[in-house]
Symmetry: C2
Subunit: 577 residues, 2 copies
């Protein structure tokens, strides 16, 4: 063996040695939260311990952060802080209990613990994180972002409601203001009646009001008279006063890779339960969005249970329960930015229009964008980005590698063509929430199987538009099989169990084919309302082997409506048994 | 010459050559805003042009950015954006017309231009900038952040006011809401009566209300009845409804060195006019804070004209006019952070308590802090910072190089000992604004000379406290000479022309000597109210060669009060002529 060989061998042995040590150490590297001053059950603030423990995890590349089973309280005071733009929720400088920024290969195991939050704090934010698992804990709040009042009396010009001590309030200058023991105000936006017996939105109930200034009088402790005429309400039911903002989503995942959430109960949060943006591969298994049993509340969380924006790779949701939340169970889509003006043959200025999309910077040099006409949402071209100048969270100037098509007009939109997520939603229960079940808008394969739906609106909705919500959608290969649609459409948010709601201008529906390749196979529809399917501008849909059962669980309505409302579609095959 | 020498000479010549080119180029490097698409007078948005021009200035190291004389409009839409913490103003994600971040050696010359702003946009933010001059322009808004209503009728239970089209409003659910042509809401906090003839705060007028929900009715276009009983008001005077927030200060200077502002008229802004924090050397010459003549408004800006926090080097203000603004003309002080708890013999957790001090990160490794007892504001120790852990904008953990004194208790405070600014305020006119004239709190030499004061509160106030405002003050060498105090104290914000208002607990005033070394020499006091001086806890004050003139310009009041109210002081010498 010559010197050179000896040196190489020595270096190799060092490398192997280091690697070997690395592996063994990593296996043992478990960080226990109690080593950082966290005490379960004593009400003390766990946020600083998490902060320190995550620093340690980063430092020693720990594989696990564990919580001995117990109750851990989290307050905003000493929590981490970051200005976060969260799609479909509200941007803000947020206090965050678990800020996993750039962290890799970590499992956070609550071992069955309860995480209890106080005030305006966001539980989890993953940002440029990789291989993160969150498991075995529940999250709840001492004071919810929404409020619930039991309806005591309904008159022509007023309704009396009763607020338990869970929902502190005060009457300020004759208007109702929700607060907490620290006198922090919890703004509300609209309110909605829930059926307290069925524990779901009341039959055909509508959202009331959009402003926070309801004239109100306190009649006695907890009993408040809402001075608004002609409210439709049933004594014994519950008015849910929705949270005015979505500042504290449960789990926010941004620009991250490989995230798994399992055995997590989201009893409450102030925004969406799990919101995932610009991330690759997300799996939810046994995630439950539901009101905590001992709270007696009728609402779980204040917005969608889950939501996925511009994601790629795989989205898997298995064995989940999404119930009683204030909005849809999921929505999987991309984002359109509006073309404001053409600055040069190969340059445009675009705007993120919807305020809850501000700061959603998805346009990067090198990526391919589609160009669509907004009224039809028809894609007429593609363009590769050369450079990007972000003016601010709304406006961005984009230079392309080649000149843009002549047919481009201001008001058109662009969206990413850089991959869509494959989706599998299976063995989930979706029920009793406001609005719809699942909104499907990925152009990769989507499989929806073995789920149960009981939603006041459509169970499955194909949306997408480039003029209002600016959500890029349009499925290409979507299988809906072996699901139970159980008495859907008892509310006001839909017109069939499975429905297209894409924002295509009436005059364009004949030429647009926004959704394609849908198979609805081997499902059971239990219906009191005949409307099974309402679609337009679809190319390719098969409806086959489905069982239709009549139900009398709700007042019969729309008895003369067609089960299949199909307009401006090609290649639709309906096989009724 | 050997090879080595030749190489060295060659390199030297290259270096000299490069340097020489650098200097000549820099001398010529003037950037004209019109080269970037700015058009004066056409109402188009100048913000994107400024953005691009500043980029160019940075790139070519330009010495000047010039505006051909004209009117330039600035809108928030495409302006730069940054989350800014501004002491004594409101933090937020701000749109900024001129964001000078890290820019050096630049003069921005408006050449007499008007800069007109629309909506929520901050005109200037200097951040880590060096050698910046701002000159020869005015700033104003199309819609002010405050509103003014002429008092038409005063009844026991209501007051009718008239709003001109300058101050759009609407009645929403029976309450008064100020708005603009874009229906953006302009929240207000409190309101105050101004004397429309004298163009100053009305004699003995007080701030009314702190909430935005005044019950109101529109009687006819522009005429609004405010349903609030027992308002004191005089027909013909003006109610000024103060801006609810301080989000858009005129010129914000943070962590910068050598800033000069000259020939700048600040007709309006939504916050302080010039707010300077953690900066070294600032000169204001011929800066005028005043309502624009052709607007007919009675209020200039919505908060203090100027304000300096934790500054060092020199602060010079010459030939300035500070009138009709909604708060003091200046306030020069440091910041105390409250000691929340001791974590180790050499470690504490501190909090920035006042919300408008959040994010004011002044504690850095290596600096020296003073330790003070909050009730007395007595400094009992010093400590050198070893390391700092910022939890968030409120809480910071500080480790010191040595153990802390035993007498330290939780609730004490810390402030920087790293230098104070020498101050010279000369030939300024300060008048007609709400509250006080100048608040002096630097421990370096302060010279206040040849100014004219006509303020409803104290003309000169020595403040500072560690329990409410958390403003570090306490002068050591302060000369007040050749000033005219012209009928001060016609309002409710003071008890003498020159006054101590430091927040020292009553029981501590006998032992505390917070302000020291004050000389009041050769001034003229024109007074309708006998109270000249009201001080406590001062060590060293000389009052000499001052001329006292009696006036009948305001109703006589406090005729039995003592001209000199001196309590718990040492070494005070009053020489009356």
């Amino acid at each position: 063996m010559n010197t050179k060989t000896r040196v190489i061998n020595y270096i190799l042995s060092l490398l192997i040695g280091l690697n070997f040590i690395g592996i063994t150490e990593a296996k043992e590297k478990v960080v226990d939260i109690t080593a950082f001053g966290a005490n379960s059950g004593d009400g003390s603030d766990t946020a600083p311990a998490v902060c320190a423990a995550l620093e340690q995890c980063k430092k020693i590349r720990a594989r696990k952060l564990v919580f001995p089973k117990g109750r851990y309280d989290f307050r905003p005071d000493r929590a981490s802080e970051k200005y976060v733009y969260v799609s479909n929720n509200d941007e803000s400088l947020k206090r965050i209990a678990f800020l996993l920024s750039g962290i890799e290969n970590l499992e956070i195991d609550g071992q069955g613990s309860e995480f209890i939050f106080h005030g305006f704090i966001a539980p989890f934010v993953l940002d440029h994180a990789k291989n993160i698992t969150l498991k075995n804990f529940s999250m709840d709040w001492v004071r919810t972002f929404h409020s619930e009042g039991v309806i005591l009396d309904v008159k022509d010009d007023s309704v009396d409601v009763f607020f338990s001590e869970q929902f502190p309030y005060r009457i300020e200058n004759g208007t109702l203001v929700f607060t907490d023991s620290d006198r922090i105000v919890y703004p509300f936006g609209s309110w909605l009646e829930f059926d307290s017996r069925k524990r779901e939105t009341a039959y055909q109930a509508q959202d009331y009001g959009t402003r926070q200034n309801i004239q109100a009088q306190e009649i006695s402790k907890g009993r408040v008279r809402l001075m608004r005429p002609k409210l439709k309400a049933t004594v014994g039911n519950v008015f849910v006063f929705g949270a005015g903002h979505r500042l504290c989503p449960g789990i926010t995942i941004s620009d991250s890779i490989n995230t798994k959430i399992t055995g997590v109960n989201i009893y409450h949060c102030g925004g969406m339960g799990v919101i995932v943006q610009r991330s690759n591969n997300i799996e939810l298994d046994q995630v439950k969005v539901t009101p905590s049993l001992n709270s007696g509340r009728i609402l779980s969380i204040t917005a969608d249970a889950t939501h996925f924006v511009n994601c790629t790779g795989k989205i898997i949701m298995s064995n989940c329960l999404f119930e009683n939340q204030k909005d849809d169970a999921t929505n999987i889509h991309g984002i359109y930015a509006r073309i404001i003006k053409q600055l040069a043959p190969n340059e445009i200025e675009v705007k993120l229009v919807h305020p809850q999309q501000h700061g959603f910077d998805f346009i990067k040099p090198g990526i391919k964008l589609e160009l669509v006409h907004s009224p039809s949402i028809i894609t007429y071209g593609e363009a590769v980005v050369k450079s990007v100048l972000r003016l601010n969270k709304e406006f961005t100037r984009v230079v392309f590698k080649a000149d843009l098509p002549k047919e481009m007009v201001e008001g058109d939109a662009v969206a990413s063509l850089e991959g869509y997520p494959e989706v599998n939603i299976n063995h989930c229960i979706i029920r009793n929430n406001r609005a719809r079940g699942i909104l499907l808008g990925s152009r990769a394969k989507m499989v929806i199987e073995d789920n149960t739906f009981h939603t006041p609106g459509a169970a499955i909705l194909f949306e997408g538009d480039a003029r209002y919500w600016y959500e890029q959608a349009g499925v290409r290969d979507c299988i809906i099989r072996r699901n139970l649609f159980d008495n859907c459409n008892f509310g006001v948010w839909g017109n069939a169990c499975i429905q297209v709601g894409s924002g295509i201008e009436k005059s364009c529906q004949a030429i647009s084919r926004y959704n394609r390749g849908i198979v609805i196979d081997d499902n059971t529809f239990r219906i009191f309302d005949p409307r099974l399917l309402n679609i337009y501008s679809v190319d390719g849909l098969i409806f086959r082997n489905n069982k239709i059962e009549k139900s009398i669980d709700y007042p019969a309505q729309n008895q003369n409506a067609k089960p299949f409302e199909i307009n401006n579609c090609d290649n639709v095959k309906i096989e009724e048994k």
